[in-house]
């Protein structure tokens, strides 16, 4: 068990290093010069050279990389070219918006997926099942940004119930926070919900077919009790883990939805950093995304290996 854990953690560390190298190389391949961008259209050569030196961009690339990765290990992700602020601080500033949206989306997704998926599984090939299938197919086929636009048109335009975009911090105004969250969370939640619905359905089906459930049924336990005590509990763990994977995705910033709703999350931070050629910010953000992704995947794997020792073989 611990051998498996160590091996998986080691693999993840290697992948993380790979991501670091890849993002560093990618950013330095991108044409365009952060120094020019920071100086705007009017400047002279001396100012250019001075800023370049201050940003450490005059050093050879390997030196820059080692310096960056060296301090990244200690949690210091460097300083933004654009704002002069520490990258960790910029990320922390964006966390509330991203975490709010991710949490709300998962909530919406589960509210859709658990009832719909369970009902579909209990009555396979029934009307509910087909309806569930269609709904989830529609959900994963809708472009998120279009969905967002439609929701804005309806709920912000015609009905005027919710703001069309923008984020209100929870600490400033809880009601405003909730209102600002509804439309973006619906948008991403519907898509996540579609994925989870299909997954819930198959997990519940699987649990229904499990030996002890058959036994319980054969013993004549009431259907409701069987559902609650045996089926749902067994279906829960796989659902929790796949929800974790969805969460990793949502936490790494849903760029297009953030554009549509002017949501100041990590996705927009990263996109802006690409556009600004703000290497430290993009590198820091991608490293964080990869870290969260790998960590949650590791947790998912471990949960499964606990459940079924064959997997570690």
């Amino acid at each position: 068990m611990s051998g498996y854990l160590l091996r998986r953690a080691g693999q993840s560390a290697v992948v993380l290093l790979g991501v670091a190298i890849a993002v560093f190389a990618l950013m330095h391949l991108v044409p365009g010069d952060p120094v020019r961008l920071a100086l705007g259209t009017r400047f002279d050569q001396a100012a250019y050279d001075a800023l370049r030196e201050r940003a450490g961009l005059d050093e050879p690339l390997p030196v820059q990389f080692l310096g960056w990765i060296g301090s990244a290990v200690t949690g210091d992700l460097g300083v933004s070219f654009r704002s002069g602020e520490p990258v960790t601080m910029l990320i922390v500033e964006r966390l509330p918006a991203t975490v709010s949206l991710a949490a709300a989306s998962i909530l919406v997704a589960l509210l859709i997926a658990v009832p719909l998926g369970t009902l579909s599984a209990l009555r396979p090939r029934s009307f509910v099942d087909s309806a569930g299938t269609v709904v989830s197919q529609v959900g994963i086929s809708v472009p998120e940004f279009w969905m967002g636009i439609l929701l804005i048109l309806l709920f912000a335009g015609v009905l005027d119930w919710f703001p069309p975009g923008g984020y209100v911090p929870l600490s400033e105004d809880p009601v405003g926070w909730l209102r600002s969250l509804v439309l973006p969370a619906l948008t991403t939640g519907l898509v996540s919900g579609s994925v989870l619905t299909r997954f819930t359905r198959s997990s519940v089906l699987e649990a229904l077919g499990a030996d002890h459930v058959r036994t319980a049924r054969a013993k004549g336990l009431p259907a409701r009790a069987v559902l609650r005590w045996h089926v749902l509990r067994n279906a829960l763990l796989p659902l929790v883990t796949v929800t974790g994977v969805q969460l990793a995705y949502l936490l790494s910033g849903v760029v297009v939805v953030e554009i549509v709703f002017a949501w100041p999350g990590l996705g927009l931070l990263a996109l802006q950093a690409v556009q600004d050629r703000d290497y430290p910010v993009l590198q820091g953000a991608v490293l964080l995304f990869a870290f969260v992704f790998l960590l949650l995947n590791l947790v998912v794997d471990l949960l499964y290996s606990r459940l079924d020792p064959r997997i570690s073989a």
């Binding site: 991108v30 044409p31 365009g32 010069d33 952060p34 020019r36 961008l37 920071a38 100086l39 705007g40 259209t41 009017r42 400047f43 002279d44 001396a46 100012a47 050279d49 001075a50 800023l51 654009r82 704002s83 002069g84 602020e85 500033e93 964006r94 918006a97 804005i152 912000a156 703001p163 069309p164 975009g165 923008g166 984020y167 209100v168 911090p169 600490s171 400033e172 105004d173 809880p174 009601v175 405003g176 709703f261 002017a262 100041p264 690409v274 556009q275 600004d276 050629r277």
Partner: protein, 512 residues
């Protein structure tokens, strides 16, 4: 009305939640339960972008200057009406007969936000910071030999050559802000501010910057107790917030909304021509655009009215020169009349065979360039020119511009106060922003003469002549001057919408 929000904010703080519901009925920045000091009565302004940083000497972002305008002062300041330079921290100035020595006398009793008093050493420190650290604006001092403090209230500029535009070079915008001596060493100016302006910087987050009235401001305490700049990139969101009273002011007004807003009673619309201009430039080092006649044919084929309408609806005016009517530096000159037949003939006369291909580089950073390019493409098609629109990220765009890797590009030039700033570096042979590679000895001579001409009217005449040669040679193909468009809550008093887009809330009074 003023007491209510204060109570709401207090209760909210006590309960750990901020002004629910209460904010809806009250037209203050209730959303900002955490606003400083008095809590209520704060002016909330929705700006479209987040400032990159708040060091006035380092930032080049407009969003930063919207905030900094209210926090820092400069020696001189452009007037709200016609952008001529007026006293600010400098009370008066004198020029020596040879134009090489300028002596500024500082205002008395000016206090910084940290309580220290402004003296000449602060001015010398601030400008030397820009020069010695070679910051973005150091190019403004290339003709300055040295800056010294003669006594506490007197600053002397020694110049290498006359600078008739020195006043605008040191006061055009808050990028030339005066800091107290040693400020950069004692503070992190990217996030903190020590200015002399009407407001102090309280703090900034990912969604807003908060300012508080500075009681000891030399011009008197501002009327509102606090200002909050909120970043609202989505225009619809900004306008909705304005209508519902969550914000009092915004500049995030898309051109296509102006018509609807003009008849909307819940919003007051401000619109005034800006001194910005948008233009197309062709690469004079690449055939066939090196031929003056080819460029003139293109200038004749383009219908500026349609381009302007498409890009900016009714929020811009077509112009064949740089600066709009109403500005002192406007040149009244319109040699081109859209005429495809004439353009075709010019192209044929130039000995150029069609079809021709022209790459037109635009940037998603400024979507109006993408829109304008599509109209220009459709207008040049009947001329036999196929336009490949190349939408680049701005960083790539700038890199390609710098390398001369383009046939033509579209961009704007903003905040033009003094003609030296928008003619020399763009059109003088070999100048730093002359990316199109324009070179005409006649233009050079006119520009060089104007640069050192100290008589304002004579200087204007030289620039008029230079402008005409620039337009005739199509060094830039000027397209239009956009309007400054802002909207605020009806009844907001004491705010002036300015052609240079400076946003100053010093004298603003909130509506009851």
């Amino acid at each position: 009305m003023r007491a209510l929000p204060a109570i709401a904010a207090l209760t909210a703080a006590a309960l750990g939640l901020a002004g629910c519901g209460a904010g809806e009925g009250v037209d203050t920045g209730q959303g900002s339960g955490g606003s400083p000091g008095e809590g209520g009565g704060a002016l909330v302004a929705a700006i479209s972008a987040q400032p990159d940083q708040l060091d006035p000497h380092k930032t080049t972002a407009y969003a930063s200057f919207q905030v900094l305008e209210n926090v820092y002062d400069t020696l001189t300041v452009p007037s709200a009406e016609d952008q001529t330079m007026q006293p600010s921290l400098a009370e008066s100035w004198e020029t020596s007969d040879d134009g090489l020595t300028w002596t500024f006398t500082l205002r008395e009793g000016v206090e910084f936000h940290d309580g220290s008093e402004l003296d000449a050493a602060d001015v010398v420190y601030s400008f030397n910071r820009i020069i010695d650290e070679e910051l973005a604006n150091s190019y403004r001092f290339t003709s300055v030999a040295d800056i010294t403090a003669k006594d506490d209230r007197t600053v002397v500029f020694q110049l290498k050559e006359p600078m008739p535009n020195l006043l605008s070079q040191v006061g055009e915008f808050k990028g030339m802000a005066i800091l107290p001596e040693g400020a950069a060493e004692e503070h992190d100016l990217a996030t903190e501010a020590v200015g002399t302006g009407p407001f102090t910087l309280q703090g900034s987050t990912a969604s807003a910057v908060e300012l508080k009235a500075f009681e000891d401001h030399w011009g008197g305490e501002p009327t509102v107790p606090a200002v909050e700049f909120r970043f609202v990139s989505e225009p619809t969101a900004a306008l909705t917030a304005l209508r519902s009273g969550q914000v009092h002011w915004t500049d995030n007004v898309p051109a296509q909304q102006i018509e609807a807003l003009a008849s909307d009673d819940s919003v007051e619309l401000g619109q005034t021509p800006s001194v910005d201009y948008w233009y197309m430039a062709m690469n004079l080092e690449k055939p066939p655009f090196d031929k003056r006649e080819v460029r003139r044919a293109i200038a004749t084929a383009i219908d500026r009215e349609a381009v302007t309408q498409a890009a900016k609806f009714d929020a811009a005016r077509p112009n064949q020169t740089a600066i709009p009517e109403g500005s002192f530096w406007h040149t009244d000159y319109e040699p081109f009349e859209p005429d495809i037949a004439a353009a075709k003939k010019m192209l044929a006369d130039a000995g150029v065979s069609t079809p021709l291909r022209m790459g037109l580089m635009v940037t998603s950073e400024y979507p109006e360039t993408v829109t304008a390019a599509q109209v220009i493409a459709s207008q040049l098609e009947p001329l036999g020119i196929t336009v490949d629109i190349q939408t680049e990220e701005f960083a790539t765009w700038l890199a390609r511009q710098g390398e001369g890797d383009f046939d033509a590009f579209l961009l704007g030039w903003v905040g033009n106060v003094d003609p030296y700033g928008f003619y020399h570096s763009q059109h003088r042979t070999g100048a730093s922003n002359n990316y199109q590679g324009y070179s005409n000895p006649v233009t050079d001579e006119l520009l060089d003469g104007a640069a050192v001409e100290r008589d304002q009217d004579a200087r204007k005449k030289l620039y008029d002549e230079a402008a005409k040669t620039i337009v005739d040679d199509v060094s830039y193909l000027y397209l239009y001057n956009p309007d400054v468009v802002q909207a605020w809550k009806p009844g907001l008093q004491g705010y002036t919408i300015r052609a240079d887009k400076a946003v100053n809330f010093e004298n603003v009074e909130l509506p009851e």
